[in-house]
C-alpha cells in the first residue's frame, strides 16, 4: 500500500515535471511575447530599443533552458510567478477564478446528467421508437450548434422575453442557471448517444436474459445490471472531456460575464502572459491526472475482474 502511494506520487511528480517542461518550451514557441502588452504600445509611445531592453530585462533573450531552469527554481519553491499583465501572483489569480469555473462546470454536469441519463437510457430501451428519434435529433442539433448561439437564444428567451433570469455576472444561484444550462446542453449530446450505444450492448448480454428469467423488473435489470455494465465508455469520455470542458467554458464565461478561469486563460494566451498560462497548465495537468486516474479506478470498480487480475502477469 505504502509503496503504491509512493509510486503514484512519483508518477504524478515526473508527469507534472515533464508536462511543465514541454509546456514551457511549447508556449515560448508561440510567436509573440508579452512585452508589447506590458509596455502598452497601444497607447504609449514606445521605441524599438525600449522593447528590446524590456525583452532583455525579462530574460526572454536567454536560452530557453536557462529560462526553464529559472522557472523550475521558483517552481520548486512553490513560486509560480506573477502575471505579466496584472502583476499579481498567478496562483492567487487562478484560485480566485477557480470556484466560479468549478461552479459552472458542476452546474453543467448536473444539467448533463439530468438530460443525458434519461434521454440516453430511454432511447436505448425504446430503440427505434419516437423517443429514440427525438433524442437523436436533439443530440445532433446539440452537437452541431455552437454554444454561443445556444446561449444567446437562452438569454433572449429566459432573460429578455420570459422569466427575467439574470443573464450575466455571478451573484448567487440564479445567475448560474443560464450558463450551466447552456454548457450542460452543449455537452449532453455526446453522452446521450454514447450511453445509448453502450446500453444497447449491455442489454443484449446473456446476463440480462438470465436476470429476466429470474423475474427481475425491467427497471431493476436496467439499473442494477445493464446500466453499470454500460458505464465505462461514458465515464471515459467524461473524464477526457472534463479537461476540455474547463478550457471550453470560455465561450460561456464571456457570454454570461461569468468570471471563471477560462476567460482568464484566453486573455493570458492572447497577451502571452507566460506565468499565467503555465500556472493554468499546471492546474489542468493535475486535474486531468486525477480525473483520469479516478476514471481508471472506476473501471476497476465497475469490473472487478480487472481489479483482481491486475496483478497477474500479462503477455
Amino acid at each position: 500500500m505504502f509503496r503504491l502511494v509512493i509510486r503514484k506520487f512519483l508518477e504524478v511528480f515526473i508527469f507534472l515535471l515533464f508536462i511543465m517542461f514541454v509546456s514551457f518550451l511549447f508556449i515560448r514557441l508561440a510567436p509573440g511575447d508579452p512585452v508589447l502588452t506590458i509596455l502598452n504600445v497601444d497607447e504609449l509611445s514606445v521605441s524599438q530599443e525600449q522593447v528590446e531592453a524590456m525583452r532583455e530585462e525579462m530574460g526572454f533573450n536567454d536560452p530557453l533552458l536557462i529560462q526553464f531552469g529559472n522557472w523550475l527554481l521558483d517552481f520548486v519553491q512553490l513560486d509560480f510567478g506573477n502575471s505579466y499583465s496584472t502583476g499579481q501572483p498567478v496562483m492567487q489569480m487562478l484560485m480566485r477564478a477557480l470556484p466560479a469555473t468549478a461552479e459552472l462546470t458542476l452546474g453543467a454536469l448536473l444539467v448533463m446528467l439530468l438530460v443525458a441519463l434519461p434521454l440516453g437510457s430511454l432511447s436505448a430501451v425504446y430503440r427505434g421508437s419516437w423517443i429514440d428519434t427525438v433524442s437523436r435529433m436533439l443530440s445532433i442539433v446539440g452537437a452541431a450548434v455552437p454554444s454561443f448561439w445556444l446561449g444567446l437564444i437562452l438569454i433572449d428567451l429566459f432573460g429578455v422575453r420570459f422569466g427575467g433570469l439574470p443573464t450575466m455576472g455571478r451573484d448567487g444561484f440564479a445567475s448560474l442557471i443560464l450558463p450551466s444550462l447552456t454548457l450542460g446542453l452543449a455537452i449532453s449530446s455526446v453522452y446521450v448517444r454514447l450511453l445509448r450505444s453502450s446500453l444497447l450492448d449491455s442489454l443484449s448480454q446473456e446476463f440480462v436474459r438470465s436476470a429476466r428469467a429470474r423475474g427481475l423488473s425491467e427497471g431493476r435489470i436496467f439499473l442494477m445490471h445493464a446500466f453499470r455494465h454500460s458505464l465505462p465508455p461514458v465515464i471515459t469520455v467524461f473524464g477526457v472531456s472534463l479537461g476540455s470542458l474547463i478550457g471550453g467554458v470560455v465561450v460561456i464565461e464571456v457570454l454570461f460575464a461569468y468570471p471563471g478561469i477560462g476567460k482568464l486563460v484566453v486573455d493570458a494566451i492572447r497577451q502571452r502572459d507566460y506565468p499565467l498560462i503555465q500556472g493554468y497548465i499546471l492546474i489542468m495537468a493535475v486535474v486531468v491526472f486525477f480525473v483520469n486516474t479516478a476514471v481508471d479506478l472506476s473501471y476497476r470498480y465497475l469490473n472487478p475482474e480487472m481489479k483482481l487480475k491486475e496483478k497477474e502477469a500479462h503477455r
Binding site: L194, P232, A285, V288
Partner: protein, 285 residues
Amino acid sequence: MKTISLRSPARPKSKKHSWQAIIAALFIVLVAAASLYTFMYLKHDPTLTDLRGRLQEGSTLHPLGTDHLGRDVLTRLLLGGIQTIGYSLLALSTALIIGIPFGLIAGYKRGWTDRIFMRIADGFLAFPDTIVAIVLSGLLGAGIGNLVLAIVIVKWVSYARLVRSTVLSESQKDYIRIARTNGLSDARIMTKHLLPHIAGHVLVLASLDLGKIILLISSLSYIGLGAQPPTPEWGAMLNDSRPYFQSRPELMVYPGLAIVSIVLLANMLGDYLRDRFDVKKEVQP
C-alpha cells in the same frame, strides 16, 4: 410475440432498406447541390462583396438572401460545403487513425506501455486548444496540414481513451486468450478481434464530433489556421453571422442547418455501421 415496453411490436424492419434510402437521398441531394452549385456559381461570385446589396432578404436572384457583405448566401453555402466537409472529415479521420491504435495498444499491452501512453494523453489534455493552434500557426503557418494537425492534437485523446476502456475490459475475455493461444500476433488480435467491439462507441463519438470539428475549424481560422476569409466555410459563416443574431437570425440558421444535416448524415452512417458490428441487432425484451 408482442411486447409493449421493450420491443417494437412489428418484426424489425430490414436495416438494409433504410440504408439504401439514405444512399438514394444522399445521391439526390448531391446531384441537386451540384447542379444548383454550377448554376449559382455562374450567377454569383462567392467572394464578391456588394455593400449596397447586403443583408437582402430571399429573392429569386438570391434564394437565401445575401450576407453582411452582400454576397449570395446560397452560393457560399454550396461552395462552403465542399471545404467544410472535406477539412472536417480529413481531420476527424486523422484523429481516428491516430487515436484508435494508440488506445488499442495501451489497453491491450497494459502495464508500463499503458501508463506511459496514458500520461502522454493526459499531457495533451492539459493544453488549451488555443495554445496548440497559436503555436502551430506561428511555427508552421497556415495550411490544411497544420489545421488537421491542430485538430488531431485536440481530438485524438478522446478516441484513444475510449478505445482503451473497451479494450481493457474486452481483453479479459476468454476469446481473446484463445486468440493468443492461436498464435495471433498482437496486431492481429487488436484489429480482428478487438476492433469490432470498439467500433460502436467510436462511431457514435466521431459522428457527433464532426459538428464540433466544423466549429473548431472556424475558430481556428481566426488565429490563422484553416480557411482564410473570404473562403466560404460553414463554421466561419456561422461565426460571421453572430452580430446579426437579433436582426437577421436566419443568417445563422442556414449554416447551422447545413452543419446539422451533415452531422445527421454522419450519424446515420455511424449508426448503420454500428448496426453492422452489433451482430445481435436488438435488445431483448
